[in-house]
Symmetry: C2
Subunit: 150 residues, 2 copies
C-alpha cells in the first residue's frame, strides 16, 4: 500500500514478540503465586498499594494500574476485601470516590509474595534471554529507567 510496508512488518513482529514474552512471564508468575492463592492482577494490586507507602488509592487508579475495566476492578477489590487483605474507605471530600487501603494482613501477604514474584521474574527473564526470538526484548527490560504507571 505505502512505501514502508517493511517498517509495518517490523512493528508487527515486535508486537508478536512482546505478546509472546508477556504471555510467558504472566503464566509463570501465575503458577508461582498459586501457592499463596494470589493471581497476577491480585499481586499487582497489593504491589501498587504498598508502593503508595500506606496511602490510599482510588478505584480508577487501580483500574489503570492493572489495565482492567471498572467492573473487573470492583470485583477484584471485593475479592481481596472478602479475604481481609484490604479495606474500602469512603473518602469524605468526594463521596463518589472510594479509596482502598491495605490491611495488616494484606501487607503481610505482600511481603511474603514479593520474593516469590521477583525470583520467578528473574528466572523467566533469564530463560527468555536464551531464546533468540525473545532475547533482544528481554534484555531491553533490564535497563529501562521508567516510573511505574501512576
Amino acid at each position: 500500500m505505502s512505501i514502508d510496508d517493511g517498517a509495518v512488518e517490523v512493528r508487527a513482529q515486535g508486537w508478536r514478540t512482546l505478546a509472546a514474552l508477556h504471555g510467558m512471564i504472566e503464566s509463570e508468575l501465575e503458577r508461582s503465586l498459586t501457592a499463596l492463592r494470589l493471581s497476577v492482577v491480585e499481586y499487582t494490586v497489593l504491589d501498587a498499594l504498598s508502593r503508595q507507602d500506606g496511602w490510599h488509592m482510588r478505584m480508577q487508579q487501580l483500574a489503570r494500574a492493572t489495565a482492567l475495566s471498572p467492573s473487573a476492578t470492583t470485583r477484584l477489590v471485593t475479592r481481596l476485601e472478602d479475604r481481609g487483605l484490604l479495606t474500602r474507605i469512603l473518602c469524605a471530600d468526594d463521596r463518589r470516590g472510594i479509596y482502598t487501603e491495605l490491611t495488616a494482613a494484606g501487607r503481610e501477604l505482600y511481603l511474603e509474595a514479593r520474593p516469590v514474584h521477583d525470583e520467578t521474574l528473574e528466572r523467566v527473564l533469564a530463560e527468555a534471554e536464551d531464546r533468540p526470538e525473545l532475547a533482544v526484548l528481554a534484555r531491553a527490560l533490564h535497563g529501562i529507567p521508567v516510573a511505574a504507571v501512576q
Copy 2:
C-alpha cells in the same frame, strides 16, 4: 535480601512497563477489530495461518502462537470454523493431530482485517512513544529483527 536489590527493582519496573504497554496495545487492537467481529486472538490465528502460506498448522502450534491453553485453542478454532473461516483437517500420517487451514472466506477476512490491525498498531506505538514511561520500550519494538514464535 541480596546485594542486587536494585537490579530486581529495575526488572520489576520493566515488567510493569511491559504489562502496561501490552495492555494498551491489546485493548486498542481489540476495539479496532470489533467492527469485523474479530478478537485479537482470533486475528492472531488468521495471521499465523496465512503466514504459513496456505499450509496447515497443528492445534498445538496454534496454542503456542496464541499463548493459549489447549482447551481454549479447541474452542477458538471451533468458533472460527463455525463462521466458515477455517477448516479442520485430520491428517493421515498422525491421526492424533488435527490440522487447520484457512478457507477462502478466512483469507478474505484476513486481508480486510490486516490493514486495520496494522494501522492501529502504528498509531498506538506512536502514542506510546509520547508517554515517557513507555517510550523506551515502545521504541525498542521498532528495531527487533526476530522471527515469529513458531
